[in-house]
């Protein structure tokens, strides 16, 4: 709140900032900067800026505000070409950022990181605050350039090779990730494109996903991706994509492809939370995540004739799920009833009440609690697997039947309306990924549901859910492929006898072409 800034602070700040900017832009050899920096710090001291923590805060806020005002002035000056405008702006902001980086690097005693990180968090917090205020103030006239430049350059400065900074890498990444989370597009829509640039910058990705030991950066990055998916969801939820959405969506696909190629394990571990946030109709984007598999894993060609999936060693191991999805099974008494039903098939009323827990409204298209549905399906499935394993069996399409677990799935398949059943089948299909115990179990489960279905509508919908994931452009998850191939090849499912397979010539042609490619 700058109204109670001490008198003269603004002028002092302006003078010091201008002074530093000119020093920075004239010094033609950054390697001699320590001398320059120390003398500048003395000047700051002389002006009483460093006297108290509060004054330091005000100085940074004032300096940031000066830079941002400059950005608007330069951008609104028609005599500047876009390149000229950028160059002028960057001269100021790069200099200011460099000062901050030097202060962070030299603040506090050597070996005591807290002062440094506190200062960094303070500055990030100030810029964040000014950005959000600015966005309120300017609305659709908001300019992201200054802030984007500030964050990217400060990050690059603090990522340059330096023993002190290297030791602080996790704290620095945490500070930036938290700031970006607080700046996520749902809160700062005017900053959304710059934000995606920031969180997908190659050095940011390199550090947070590859260089921080023990994958400690992964939860931080998963939060940012969740922010992005949640922001995009309402816009992607409807098939028509406006140009601004298309661009952001395409950008997101690029980022996901980089992650799929370089960090598939990350997508594997966090897939569940991502699928919660991604709208069910975003089939291709979700497939990119579901298609990920650990790099040390060799996937057998799903089209191999007589592939014995249940003989694969990997089907015995459970995939890592970095999401406390069980928490989504609310309320607590529902979870209690669920557990008791799984244990003893009681209370008998549990099944009939199931739908009422899942349905949250009568609004078509948003009747159900999707995270609850997803969590329920995964939880029941994992309980089924451990139940069967406890009897030293490997799950298959026959021994998963006649259990409390399958009761629940059968009930959901029969009792829900088309919308609910679609979400239920999606929840299962989201587990058809690389060879692991979940893929194997859910593959058996969906095939079992198909075989035991008492109405063709259920069989058709199972087919639709699988097919819509197959006809989009690649990639396709391995588990999806082997499940569908089994469905159309294994005569016990009498797949070709169903008239929905022949309901239109192009549909029949489609099935035949898929069949040809796998038979």
């Amino acid at each position: 709140n700058d109204c109670d800034d001490p008198p003269g602070l603004q002028e002092k700040t302006e003078f010091l900032l201008k002074d530093w900017v000119s020093i920075y832009n004239q010094s033609n050899n950054l390697s001699r900067e320590t001398k320059i920096f120390t003398s500048f710090v003395q000047k700051m001291n002389m002006y009483g800026i460093l006297k108290t923590d509060d004054l330091i805060t005000r100085f940074f806020r004032q300096a940031t505000q000066i830079c941002i005002d400059l950005v608007y002035r330069i951008l609104n000056d028609p005599s500047n070409s876009p390149l000229q405008a950028r160059t002028k702006i960057f001269h100021w902001i790069d200099a200011f950022v460099h000062l901050i980086a030097l202060l962070v690097r030299h603040s506090g005693e050597a070996g005591n990181p807290t002062t440094k990180i506190n200062l960094l968090n303070k500055v990030l917090g100030i810029v964040l605050g000014i950005l959000l205020q600015d966005q309120e103030l300017h609305g659709t006239a908001f300019q992201q350039l200054g802030y984007h430049r500030f964050f990217v350059m400060l990050f690059l400065e603090l990522s340059s090779p330096d023993a002190v900074l290297e030791s602080l890498m996790l704290s620095i990444m945490t500070a930036f990730s938290h700031t970006y989370h607080l700046l996520n597009p749902a809160l700062a829509p005017g900053f959304c494109y710059a934000w995606l640039e920031l969180i997908s910058h190659r050095i940011f990705i390199g550090r947070i996903l590859a260089q921080i030991p023990q994958q400690k950066g992964w939860p931080l990055y998963s939060q940012l991706l969740l922010d992005l998916f949640r922001y995009l969801a309402p816009f992607l939820r409807n098939a028509e994509l406006a140009k601004p959405v298309q661009l952001l969506y395409k950008g997101t696909l690029r980022v996901l492809l980089v992650l799929l190629h370089d960090f598939p394990e990350f997508l594997c571990d966090y897939h569940f939370g991502f699928c919660d946030a991604i709208p069910p109709n975003c089939i291709q984007m979700r497939n990119i995540i579901l298609a990920a598999f650990p790099r040390n894993m060799r996937l057998p060609d799903p089209f191999t004739p007589n592939l014995k999936v249940d003989m694969l060693a990997e089907t015995a191991t459970a995939p890592k799920i970095c999401s406390n999805y069980v928490f989504n099974i609310q309320p607590a008494n529902f979870k209690k009833d669920l557990d008791s039903y799984l244990k003893a098939r009681a209370p008998v009323t549990f099944l009939s009440e199931l739908r009422s827990h899942l349905q949250i409204s009568n609004e078509p298209g948003s009747r159900y609690n999707i995270p609850l549905m997803n969590a329920l399906v995964l939880y029941v499935g994992t309980q089924a697997i451990s139940h069967i394993r406890s009897k030293n069996f490997v799950p298959n399409t026959s021994n998963i039947a006649h259990s409390a677990h399958m009761d629940i799935f059968q009930n959901l398949a029969v009792d829900l309306d088309t919308e609910g059943r679609y979400l239920f089948l999606n929840a299962i299909a989201n587990q058809l990924r690389y060879p692991n115990s979940h893929t194997h179990y859910f593959s058996c489960a969906v095939l079992h549901l198909f075989a035991e279905a008492n109405s063709e509508a259920i069989q058709e919908q199972i087919t639709r859910v699988l097919l819509e994931r197959l006809i989009v452009n690649r990639p396709h998850p391995w588990g999806l492929l082997i499940t569908f191939i089994e469905l159309i090849k294994n005569p016990i499912y009498k797949f070709w006898d169903h008239d929905f397979v022949h309901c239109a010539p192009e549909i029949s042609r489609l099935f035949e072409s898929v069949a040809r490619s796998c038979m």
Partner: protein, 148 residues
């Protein structure tokens, strides 16, 4: 089967902001250090120019086959890039030494008259990047403390 879902009011507002942002998008150069000589966006060149990098272009051996002037050009105009680094390496292999005080490259012209462990004094060839030519400097004292 889910059909469409109309946007809530706050989503409409978010969309409006996104749309406004769409008209002043970041450019790739915004995420890079200012680099006057190496523009970020590639300049389209005639198709019959080589469009691909030459094989082994980023090795010291490759740079050692370049002329000394070319190495100086790369060193001064491609600052902060791998090319600059490799050009410096190649120059060193040709007995050029970088003097950090003058930010110029020097090469011994003859055996120096005085050599002790602080400096050596003699005649040097240096590269004057302002006049862009090699020059000779007699009686020059090359202080080791400025040796990069």
């Amino acid at each position: 089967p889910l059909g469409t879902l109309p946007l809530h009011k706050d989503h409409q507002l978010q969309f409006k902001m996104m749309e406004a942002a769409y008209y002043h998008l970041p450019t790739p150069a915004d995420s890079e250090r200012l680099n006057i000589y190496l523009p970020r966006t590639p300049v389209p060149t005639p198709q019959h120019y080589p469009q691909q990098q030459l094989p082994l272009y980023d090795t010291v051996e490759f740079y050692q086959r370049l002329s000394t002037e070319t190495l100086f050009f790369v060193f001064y105009y491609m600052e902060g890039s791998k090319a600059q680094y490799l050009a410096a390496k190649a120059l060193k292999k040709q007995s050029w030494r970088f003097h950090t005080k003058y930010m110029m490259w020097f090469q011994r012209h003859e055996e120096p008259k005085i050599i002790n462990d602080d400096y050596e004094q003699g005649t040097y060839i240096y590269f004057d990047y302002e006049k862009w030519s090699q020059r000779k400097k007699e009686g020059f004292t090359f202080e080791y403390k400025y040796l990069e």
